[in-house]
């Protein structure tokens, strides 16, 4: 579904990714693990078209989307839930959700809105409240709900558990599992290694802008290098 080949990207003159290869297949959850500054968000944002890549190739369903503007990428169904949520704080929950269907899924907007409220009843209760007044967990729900409005084919989740209480983190991973079971392909970027590997089909470990480890999630769980780097074992 998504193929990334020898991707080099960064900001301004600074190259952060030095040639990354990555695949997400149909109906897969793929986890990307790595510490702060490894290049995880750069990878997401380059796939989403926020920054033009320095080189390499990105294909979605065989179609070249490398360097395309973000609205063209959203149009194809690659939808990102960014780190820090990036909801529209000055607008109501309803308007935030409606904007989720701004570029894609417009025809079914009403139905999708009902669907999101069914998944997140909490958002329904807060419908006319400004997004800026929501709690962190609610904002995360809103960001995911907003993405669902665009009828994603590939959902990119950037650190969805960041800043949530342990209970909410559990809830969040449960939700991601449900979305996957409903047939959604997911690229999950996380620092929460154990939870992510328990959930994912496959995983990549990214360090200093390069993929250093990759494979099926259950194999990586037993990998001694990974244990040493991330679990201190």
């Amino acid at each position: 579904m998504l193929e990334v080949r020898d991707l080099r990207a960064g900001y301004g003159a600074v190259e952060v990714l030095h040639g990354v290869d990555l695949d997400v297949g149909d109906d897969e959850i793929v986890a990307i693990l790595g510490s702060n500054g490894a290049g995880k968000s750069t990878l997401n944002n380059t796939i989403s078209g926020l920054f033009p890549p320095f080189g390499g190739a990105i294909r979605f369903d065989g179609e070249d989307i490398c360097g395309a503007p973000s609205e063209r990428i959203v149009e194809r169904g690659v939808i990102q839930v960014p780190e820090g949520r990036r909801v529209f704080p000055n607008m109501t929950v309803r308007d935030n959700l409606l904007l989720g269907g701004y570029r894609r899924g417009r025809a079914n907007r009403k139905r999708n809105l009902d669907g999101v409220v069914a998944v997140f009843p909490r958002l329904g209760e807060r419908f006319t409240q400004h997004a800026g007044t929501l709690s962190g967990g609610e904002q995360q729900m809103l960001a995911i709900g907003r993405a669902m409005m665009a009828e994603p084919r590939l959902l990119i989740l950037d650190e969805p558990s960041l800043g949530l209480s342990p209970l909410l983190v559990e809830e969040m991973f449960g939700l991601i599992r449900r979305l996957h079971e409903e047939g959604l392909s997911i690229l999950l970027v996380e620092q929460n290694v154990m939870e992510s590997l328990a959930l994912a089909n496959r995983a990549y470990v990214i360090e200093n802008g390069l993929i250093t480890l990759s494979g099926p999630a259950d194999e990586l769980l037993d990998n001694p290098d990974l244990k040493r780097s991330y679990l201190g074992l």
Binding site: S48, G49, L50, P69, S70, E71, V74, E75, I79, Q80, P82, R85, R86, V87, F88, P89, N90, M91, D95, L98, L99, G100, Y102, R103, R104, R146, A150
Partner: protein
């Protein structure tokens, strides 16, 4: 002698009259300020070319009137569309391309654009003042306390109508939502597939269309010269800051406050000294509410 007279030396009637007159003018101030506040709210830039664009639009109205014989009010749709397209193009292909996203460059570019346009206007249109004569120039209705001109009422009504339309557009349309989204959260906006550069240019276009509309409303009442923009845009800046940067309601309320302050101040202090009232009210409100009447709290 009535109560007002004892207090002020003027009759109640004349004070009421100047409040009414101030309200009429205030609506147009609000309209010019609305364009400025929209551009500031979305692009976070101070548009120094705002007044110059108003001047250009007034010349547009003037020449349509002189050459084609179009009534200034009838010219409004044409000027509105032309101003929108001009503003859209200016942002998308000049300001946006040259600024590289840096505010100080944007500021200088709008200033530069304004200087270029103003000097071109001086060259081609000369510094002479031009007037549009309309047959209904002195028509109006007698309210008893004051004589209200048709041109005043038209300006008032149209300014309110445009403000209300813009308000509806911003709150209920998809494009309006996208504009509000871009104003506060650009990256989030890109991630839902909003073309941010297009929305920037659209906002600049709508802001310019506001001065286009204002130009048609002002042209029958004010002499047009290459420097006419300053008169209104200085007041518009005051209105925007007073009402709260980026606030629509602030622009509207601020416009009326300044319009009335100017008119009532002029009554007591004389035409030229009356302007002091604007500054006094401005300073007073900012002392009490540093972010303006409807501005967000400064963080």
């Amino acid at each position: 002698m009535d109560a007002c007279a004892n207090l002020t030396g003027h009759g109640c009637g004349i004070i009421l009259a100047s409040i009414i007159n101030g309200t009429m003018t205030g609506a147009v101030y609000a309209l010019v300020a609305l364009g400025l506040t929209l551009i500031y709210g979305v692009l976070h830039i101070i548009n120094f070319a705002h007044g110059t664009l108003l001047m250009l639009a007034m010349y547009g109205v003037f020449f349509l009137n002189q050459i084609v014989g179009v009534d200034p009010y009838m010219a409004m749709p044409v000027i509105l569309v032309a101003a929108f397209l001009f503003g859209y193009g200016l942002q998308r292909y000049v300001i946006g391309k040259t600024s590289h996203g840096r505010d100080e460059i944007t500021l200088l570019v709008t200033l530069g654009v304004s200087i270029v346009i103003e000097n071109l206007a001086l060259f081609f249109f000369t510094a002479n003042e031009r007037n549009i004569r309309v047959p209904y120039e002195l028509a109006g209705i007698d309210l008893g306390v004051t004589y209200l001109l048709v041109t005043q009422m038209a300006a008032f009504g149209a300014a309110l109508l445009i403000t209300a339309t813009l308000w509806m557009f911003m709150s209920a349309s998809d494009t309006g939502r996208a504009i509000r989204a871009v104003a506060k959260e650009r990256q989030g906006a890109r991630l839902v597939g909003i073309n941010v550069e297009h929305i920037f240019a659209l906002s600049f276009g709508i802001g310019t269309a506001c001065v286009g509309a204002a130009a048609a409303l002002l042209a029958p009442r004010f002499a047009i010269s290459p420097r006419i923009g300053y008169t209104f845009v200085l007041i518009a800046f005051t209105v925007v800051v007073l009402g709260g940067m980026g606030s629509f309601v602030g622009a509207l309320v601020g416009g009326f406050i300044i319009g009335i302050a100017e008119s009532v101040g002029g009554l007591f202090l004389g035409e030229s000294l009356g302007q002091i009232t604007i500054s006094l009210i401005f300073i007073l409100i900012l002392l009490l509410r540093p972010s303006g009447l409807f501005g967000e709290k400064l963080r």
